[in-house]
C-alpha cells in the first residue's frame, strides 16, 4: 500500500498541537486554566508534545518516501 499512515497521523497531531499551544498562550492569564490543572498550563505544554509528535511522524513519512524514490 502506497498510502503512508504516518502522513495523516502527523498532520492531525501537528494541527491539534498547534491549536493547543496557541490556545494555551492566549488563555494563560485566565485563572481558570492554570489553577484547574495544578498550576500547569497543560494546554501549552502538552500541545507542544503533540506538535513534536506530529512533526516526528511527518519526518518519518518523508524519510520513507525519499528512500522509496531513491531506489
Amino acid at each position: 500500500m502506497n498510502f503512508d499512515l504516518r502522513l495523516p497521523i502527523g498532520i492531525m497531531f501537528s494541527l491539534l498541537g498547534a491549536i493547543l499551544v496557541v490556545f494555551g498562550l492566549v488563555t494563560r492569564g485566565g485563572d481558570m486554566y492554570a489553577a484547574h490543572s495544578l498550576g500547569i498550563n497543560i494546554n501549552f505544554w502538552w500541545g507542544l508534545v503533540l506538535l513534536v509528535f506530529g512533526i516526528l511522524m511527518l519526518l518519518g513519512a518523508a524519510l520513507a518516501r525519499n528512500k522509496r524514490n531513491g531506489k
Binding site: M1, I9, L15, I19, T27, M32, L38, I42
Partner: protein, 571 residues
Amino acid sequence: MQPIHLAGVDYAILFIYFAFILVVGWILKRYMKGSADFFLSGRSIPAWVTGLAFLSANLGAQEVIGMAASGAQYGIMTSHFYWVGAIPAMVFLAIFMMPFYYGSKARSVPEYLKMRFDEKTRGFNAISFAVMTVFSSGISMHVFALLLGKLMNWDYNVCIIVSAAIVLVYIFLGGLTSAIYNEVLQFFLIVLGFAPLVFLALKGVGGWGALKEKLIPVATSQGFAPGTWTDSWQHLGSPTDNPMGVGWFGMVAGLGFVLSFGYWCTDFLVVQRAMAAKSMSAARRTPLIAAVPKMLFPALVILPGMIGIAMYQAGDHFLPFLDNDPAKGIDYNMTIPMLLVKYFPAGMLGVGFTALMASFMSGMAGNVTAFNTVWTYDIYQSYIAPGKSDSHYLWMGRAATVGGIVLSIGTAYWASQSGNIMNLLQLVFSFVNAPLFATFLLGMFWRRATGHGAFFGLLGGTIGAALFHGISLAVGAAPGIKGAWIAKEYLFRSNMGQNFWIAIVAWTTCFVLTILISLMTRRNKTDEQLKGLVYSLTPKLETGHEPWYKRPVTIGILVLAAAMVLNIIFW
C-alpha cells in the same frame, strides 16, 4: 450532576478528528479494487500498524470506562485482565497459532474451521459470530449514547445516528484498511490524551506513595487487608480476601487460560487485524507488538480509577451517585469523565473527549468489519450465492456494511426498550464463546480430531456452560438470569468468580467430548489435506535469517519476561 460544557475549541478538536477519519476513508477508496482489498486490506499492512490496530480493536469506550471503574472497585487486581488475561494468550497466538491462520490463506477464522474440520463446524461458528458482532456493536452504541446524554445532555438519537453515519461512511469507502488506520489514530489519541490526565491526577493525589497510603482506608473500610487495592497477587489466596471475590485458581485457569485464550486466539475481530499483515513474519509480530503497550495500559486506564476512589475516600466527593441516588452507591463509570473535567481545561478537555469518541467508534468499526467479512465469505458466498464474480462480493461487502450498521442501530433501540432480553442474549453468547479455544487447540495440535468431534464438542461445551450456570449463583443474587435456574448447588463470592468457573467447565466439557467423539468417529481429512493446518503436519517456519528483534519466539520470551517483572513489582 451538572452537564459538562464543551467550549468552542473542544468542538473544533472533535471536528478535526471526524474530518480526518472521513478523509482517510475517502483516500483509501481508490485502493479498494477487489474483495481481498476490502476484507483483508490486500494482506499488505506493515506490522506496527496491524499491531496497534490489534490492540485498539479491543479497546472500545466501554473497556476504557469500565477498566477505570474496576480500578476504583477492585484496585490493582484489575490489571490481571491485562497481565494474566491477555499477554500469555497474545504470545501463544503469535508463536503457535498465527502460522496456521496466516499460512492456510484462510480469509476468516470460521473459514479456518471449515478447512480443518467441516462445514457444520464453520457454519456454527460463522453464524453465532455474525449475530454476536451485530449485537455487541448495537449494545455498545446504546451504552455510549446513554453516557453522552448523561454527561453532556446530548440527544440519544443524534448520538446514535451521527456516530453510525461516520463509521458507515469510512468503512463503506475504505473497508478493513479504513478501520485499521482509524484504530491506529485512536491508539495515539488514547495514549496522548490520557497520559497527561494520569500525570496530573497522580500529582494531585500526591504521588504513588501517597496513593498507596490513601487506598488503605478504602480497603479496610470494606473489611479487607490494608494493601488489597495495591497488591495484585497477595490477596488471591481465597475469594473472601479480595473485592473481586475470586481465588487464584479461578483467576489463572478461568480468566488467564480459558477466557483469555478463547478471546485473543479465536475471536475474528482481533485475528482479522493480524491476517491483514503483509507477510507471515508481520502477521506473527502483530500480537507481540500489541502486547508491549497492552501490558503498560493499566497505568493509563486502571490507575485513574484507583486515584479517583482514593480521592473520594479522602473526602473529595467528585463522583456522582448511580442515578443520583445515594442509596445506590457511587457511579464508578463516571470516574474517567469526572477526572477529565476536574483536571483538563477547555482545549485538553476536547482532546480527552475526542479520545473517548475515537475509542467508541473504532470499537464499533471493528465489529462492523469483522461482521461484513464473515457475512460475505462464510455465509453469503458459502450458502447463499456461491460462484459469483469477485466484484459481486466486493459489492456485497459494502452492502453488508450498510446492513450491519442498520441492524446495530436496531439493536441499540431494542436494548433501550428491553434491557432484560439483551442481558439474556449476552449470557447465551458467553456460553457459545467459552468452549471455543478447546476446539482450536485440538484442531491445531491433534490431527486425529474429527469434524464430528469438533462440532459436537462445541455444542456440548456450550450446553455444559448453560447447565453449570443453572446450578451456580453469586452471593446475594436472585435465582434466574444470574444463575441457579435449575438448583442452587454452587455458591460463589461474586458474579465474576461464577463466570470464570462457567468458562472452566465449558472448556473442559468441550475438550473431553471432542477427544471422545473424535476417537469414536472416522477421520474426515487425510494427512495431506491437513498440511498447513495442523502442527505436526506443517513444516516448521525458519526464522534464523531474520534479525533477533523480528523473530517471534525471541520477542515472545522478552514480552513474557517483562510481564512477569510487572507482576513481581506489584505483587
